[in-house]
Symmetry: C2
Subunit: 140 residues, 2 copies
């Protein structure tokens, strides 16, 4: 049991607040939108948000969608044996809906490219833009 203690990450108050906001959003949220939502809870400056976001990303709890400068709670759980592979995102430019997906083939291809080119990859971003199923049907 004691051997687990190091693994049990403890989130600080600000980190918990930011993560909770993102989890309840079920959609990407920008840093400044988070700041506004958390003002009632005492947030006053961007840095409070960005610091929490940095830590939550490092822990794998959230993702940054680089192409829209917004953040999303990770769709997967964070239990014991949960392996987090490379995540991909499909972003609907009409309605803003985002689907997270994982594809081990893509992961393997990226790893293969990295290996054969001597590139030491630490993180990746895969983002698709277009229209989601619903929006595509509602005529272009």
């Amino acid at each position: 049991m004691a051997s687990h203690e190091k693994l049990v990450e403890k989130l600080t108050k600000n980190q918990v607040l930011v993560l909770a906001e993102l989890q309840s959003a079920h959609a990407p949220v920008t840093a400044y939108a988070l700041l506004d939502k958390l003002r009632p809870q005492g947030f006053r400056a961007p840095l409070q948000v960005y610091r929490a976001l940095d830590r939550l990303m490092a822990l794998g709890h959230i993702h940054k969608l680089e192409s829209i400068n917004a953040f999303m709670a990770c769709a997967h759980g964070h239990g014991e044996g949960q392996h987090h592979g490379v995540a991909g995102f499909a972003i609907c430019d009409k309605c803003g809906q985002v689907s997270e997906f994982a594809d081990s083939d893509i992961e393997h291809r990226l790893a293969a490219w990295a290996k054969s080119n001597g590139f030491h990859a630490e993180k990746s971003a895969i983002e698709l833009h277009g229209q989601c199923s619903a929006c595509a049907q509602t005529e272009a």
Copy 2:
């Protein structure tokens, strides 16, 4: 012959200047860095750069690296039958060097995901971060 005329895109002066800068850079450049480099050529405002960048991206001459807010000339040519697949980028966080790559397997997997999920993809961004071969050897 005449049937080709519509296909021969003509770049404007500003677009040519921006593209030339990016091509000679052999590395990603930010919009404001481009603005500064082009001041001697008469550029005075960000919008002049952003407008040219938008058009060059639409034409496939350049790519935006979403994760670093910078732009790069496309590594491939733009001759007649040149098909431009999905491009991936490996960005070295140590030295800033960027390698562009194309992987048709990844392209197919993304297309397959999109098809089975009814997502109509229009563009994609694939960006790896880490250390390039040279930097990884110079010890972490």
